[in-house]
Amino acid sequence: MEDFIDLILDPLQELFLKFKVFMPNLLAMLVILIIGILLAFIIKRTLVKFLAAINFDSWSDRMGFTKLMRKGDLWSKPTAILSTIIFWLLIIVTLMGGLNALQISAIDQLASQFFSYIPRLFSAAMILVVGYLLSGFISRAVLIAAANSGFHYAKLLAQAVHTLLIVLILAMIMEQLQIAPSIVLAAFSIIFGGIVIALAIAFGVGGIGAAKRIIERELVEDRPGKAPDDIEHI
C-alpha cells in the first residue's frame, strides 16, 4: 500500500519541486512583462508628443510618406502610426525578454534567434525608408528634367524609373531579411533583365515608327533655315 502511495506522491513531489524552481522564473517573466508594457506605453506617449513637436506629420506629407500610407489604406496620422509601430516592437521585445526569463531551452533558442534577427529587421527598415525617399527624389528629378526639355513622355519615363528603383529596393530588403534569398535574386534578375529586354525590343522593333518621327522632328528643328533662340534670359 505504501508503495502505491509513494507511486502517487513521488510525481506530485517532483512536480512541486519543479514548480518551486520555476516559480521565481515565472515571477521574473511577469515583472518583465508588466514593466515592459508600462515602459512601452510611456515611450509611445512621449514619442507622440516629440513627433508632434517636430512637425513629423507635415514632414511626412512633404516626403510623400502620408501619400504612400493612404495608398496602403492607412488613414491614421503618420505620428500615430509610427508611435504604434514602435509600441508594438517594444511589446514584442518585452515578450521575448519575458519568455527568456522562463529559462526553457526551446524558448531560449527562439528568443536568441529573434534578437539576432533584429539588426537585419532594422537595416531592412532603413533601406525601405531611405530607398523610398531616394526613389521619389530621383524620379521627380527625371520628371522635371525631361519635362523642361519638352519631352512628351516625361511622366512615363519618371514612372518607369520609380518602378525600377522600387523593384531594386524590395529585392534588397528581401535579401536583407533572408527571405528565400536565392529565389529573390533569381526573380530580381529575371524581372530586371526582362524589363531591359522588353524595352530594347519595344524601342528596337515596336518603336521604329516613333523613333523615325522623333528624329525627323529633331532634324526639322535643327534645319539651318529655322532660326535658333537668341534670348538672353539674364
Partner: protein, 419 residues
Amino acid sequence: MRAAIFRAEVHEQLERIGQADIIVGIPSFNNARTIGHVVRAVQGGLAKYFPEHKAVIVNSDGGSSDGTMDVVHNSSIDDFSAILLHHRVSPISKIAFPYSGIPGKGSAFRTIFEIAGALDAKACAVVDSDLRSITPEWIELLVTPILKGGYDYVSPLYHRHKFDGTITNSIVYPLTRALYGRRVRQPIGGDFGFSGSLAQYYLTKDVWETDVARFGIDIWMTTTAIANGFKVTQSFLGAKIHDAKDPGADLSSMLYQVVSATFELMETYSEVWMPIRGTEPVPAFGFEYTVGLEHVNVNTARMLNTFREGLRNLGEIWLDILGAGDFGEVERLGALPDSEFHFPIGLWTQVVYDYALAFHKRKLPVEHLIKSMTPLYVGKTASFIIEAKDMAQTEADAEIEKLCLEFEKRKDYLVTNWK
C-alpha cells in the same frame, strides 16, 4: 568668419602697393578672348577720370586654363592720347591671381572685397570679364557716385533688347522692387560700384560657404545693400553686349540659381520687406541715349510647346504649389492656340508669389521646386514676346512697369500667407 588666404606673392604685391583709393575687380574664368578689352577699358577709365587717385585692377580668376591671367598682365593702353589723355598718368597696379575657396563668382568677389579692405579702398567697382561694350566711361559712372556723391552702391542701367533679360524683367526686378520698395532696374546686372565700407560690411556676412559663393552674388549684393539701408543709386552705362553665351547653359539651371538666391534672401530679410508697401524711385546718373540693338531670334512655337509639355507632365506639382484656382487658370492657358496665347500678369504674379511661399514652406527640395517653374516661366516669356512683337522699346518697358505694379498690388497676399 575665416578671412581669405592670399598667396605669398599677392601679399607682397599688397604690401608694395600699401594703400589704394579705387579698386576695380574683374572676376574671370577662361575669358582670355575678351578680358584684354575689359582691362584696357578699365585702365583708360581710371587714367582719364581718376588720374590723381591711386587705383588697382584686381583680376580674381577661377583657375582658367586659357591664359586669362597672362592676358591681364600683358594688356595695357600703349597710347593714352588715343583716349584724349595728354597729361602724365601714374602707372595703375594690376594684381591677377587665382582665388581660393568654393569655385564661383561669389568667391572671386569675396577676394576682391578682402583686397579692398587690405588696401583701405574708398571706392570699388566690379565688371564682368566677357564684356564687349564696356568703355572707360563705365568706370567713371560706377565710381564717381561713390567718391563724390556719397553713395554706397551703384547698380547698372543698360539698354537691352526688349526680349533680353527676361528673368530680370519678369521675376527678379518686379519681385525685388515690390519687396524692398526701391526701383533698382538691374538688380543682377553684374557690373556694380560700391564703397569700401560696404565691401567691409559684405565681409561681415557669413555666406561664403553657401550658394552665394557659387552664384547669386549679384542679387545678394544688391539686396544686402538695400535691406541694410545703404545709399543706393544707378548709373546708365549704355548697351550691354557680352561674349556669346555658353550654348550648353541650361535655362532651368540659370533660373534655379537666380530665383533660389532671391527666395533665400526673402527668408533672411523677411522682417525688412514685410512692412514695406509701395515703391520709390532710385536716383540715376549718366546721360541716357538710345542705342541700336542686334536683332534677337525667338521661336515662340517651341517655347509654347515647352509650356504645354510642362503642364501635361508637371501638373500635379503645379497643383500642389499653386492651388486649384490658379492651376485651373494655367490649365486654361494650355488649351489656347498659339496666336491667342496670353499669360495674364495677375496670374504670373500669383505664380511667383506661390513659388516663394512654397520655398518658404519647403514643400519640395529647392532645386526641384524652382526647376519645376521653368515651363511656366517659358510660357510667360513666350506670351510677352507675342504681345511685344510690334511694340517699341518704350511700350515694352511700359508692359514691364504694369507687371511691377501688379506685384506691388498683390503683396498683401504674400505677406498674409508667409507667416
